[in-house]
Symmetry: C2
Subunit: 312 residues, 2 copies
């Protein structure tokens, strides 16, 4: 763990009811000892709230979170002066970093925040831009990066009765046999993406059985220069009539595994998967399958996460 | 594939020299037939370049990419008028979408771009904010999302000579035994993150042998509300003296697998992995291991990607 984490200690390691209670106590103590005095100090000494700078959180990594109030009114000069004053103070208080949330209505302040106040743009979500600045000279910047990976999924839909796999040719990348698939939607499970994409592209309803492979690819232009993780799911069909999505799919058909493996139109990835499926068809898929179980989330007691691995 | 991809057809499916040549020809045709006339049309009829709106790409999905020139000068009213004029034209030309790149120097235009010109903020990279707008009323928005996942990695460093695993307690999440790890840096391979993080946190030099499990977790506050993929690597140490990073690690030690599995301080994840490692120590790790090979990238002939899966 090299990166600083911008949250109180209770949010990432709670595992049971007693843990939750302990975390609750620790959180209470944390706010009593750390956050409240700081917010009070800011409020009283420099009237941050009144000035439209809402100092809403100082986390155990000793960072400050500032939200610009939508209703605040400053000139660019006033903002620069105010922010410089605060930053000097936070440096003298040995704060590690500042998060600055800029609502769109104050977007004209972004340039001065970056050029004069030395913030970096960290990420943007809907109606605000979030900037950050690491304040400590004595340690490296430990501000964690924003999401770096796009997640894609494809489905290898295999008919046991005929030893055939569902293959497609994209309308915009013709002449290569591929598996139907696409990019995960926000907060969508890998296994669900496979089922949705196969249905949307081919009209085939299929159930994900396992993950059999995944790929990591960096510097992808189609991922806006970021990285890509692409998961290959083994799926079992429960309908067989193909109804391809005409706006995206040029060809779609069931093809024998051997024919697919030998086809000069198979991509390298398609070929590798065909070889795996040939072995699975012969020896069973137990060795190939990466299965999963859902476990309670330590970060949020209302949530689960999905753990994938070999069941030995 | 439900999402529209913002690039010419040559960039994501090239696999061989002949493919590359074919792609080159197709790209040439594509620019000759589609892009050049459009850019010329814009340049001549509405002087986009001169007006500071650089129309630089129309891709096969029929979208327009616009970069605001840093040197351009408009009032907010002029920008709104200009952009509305262009958008009406692109709608009448049946363009699918517009990408709008706003350099920081023009950040004051963001609010009007969102509120009046109905763009959405898509993502931000260093010194520009990228917005998008889907233009077609007759189909759903197919603009692909920006990176949605943070990637984390931990290392299960296992000493065969003593059947011990390297475990840590985080300074900020004490009283739980975990494996050393952290978030991947930009474009860093999973296996490399494991080696870097283990060394940084514990001083132990170790080599990644395989991935043995991974987790998908959505809506994580420490990932700014995005999703997280966390990979667990099996590693072999080649140094044994622990030198923990004092700013992050409270405790670090070698612990017997059985002791770890039975410890009430093990997280659920730590416990599951300990169970897997017990089986591996008994039966060998072949069944557990998800191995990899590097393959030539279809998107960029100078690059490789890493394909992970079971070697059956």
């Amino acid at each position: 763990m090299t990166t600083y984490r911008p949250h109180p200690p209770h949010q990432a390691h709670v595992h049971s009811a007693s843990e939750l209670m302990a975390a609750g106590r620790s959180l209470l103590l944390y706010y009593q000892r750390l956050v409240s005095p700081l917010v009070r100090r800011h409020n009283s000494s420099i009237s941050s709230e009144a000035a439209g700078l809402k100092v809403s959180l100082v986390d155990p990594f000793n960072a400050v979170r500032v939200r610009l109030a939508e209703t605040a009114h400053w000139t660019i000069e006033e903002f620069k002066e105010k922010m410089s004053f605060h930053i000097d103070q936070w440096i003298s208080e040995k704060r590690s970093a500042v998060w600055l949330h800029v609502p769109l209505v104050h977007c004209s302040l972004l340039n001065v925040a970056v050029l004069d106040c030395r913030f970096n743009i960290h990420h943007s979500l809907s109606n605000e831009i979030v900037l950050s600045r690491w304040l400590r000279q004595d340690t490296v910047n430990k501000i964690p990066p924003f999401a770096s990976h796009q997640v894609g999924v494809c489905g290898v839909v295999y008919r046991e009765d005929t030893s055939e796999i569902l293959v497609t040719q994209d309308k915009y990348k013709p002449a290569r046999w591929k598996f139907p698939g696409g990019i995960s939607e926000f907060a969508e499970d890998i296994t669900d993406t496979a089922e949705r994409e196969v249905l949307e592209e081919t009209g085939i309803m299929a159930k994900t059985q396992s993950i059999i492979a995944f790929r990591q690819h960096h510097h992808l232009s189609i991922a806006f220069g970021q990285s890509d993780l692409y998961f290959i799911c083994r799926m079992k069909p429960f309908t067989y009539t193909i109804r391809p999505c005409t706006s995206e799919i040029l060809k779609c058909q069931w093809m024998g595994i051997r024919e697919l493996q030998a086809s000069p139109l198979a991509t390298i990835l398609t070929n590798r998967i065909a070889v795996m499926m040939l072995r699975g068809a012969k020896n069973g898929f137990r060795e190939l399958d990466i299965k999963w179980e859902d476990l309670p989330s330590p970060a949020d007691s209302n949530q689960t996460y999905r753990l994938f691995g070999k069941r030995t």
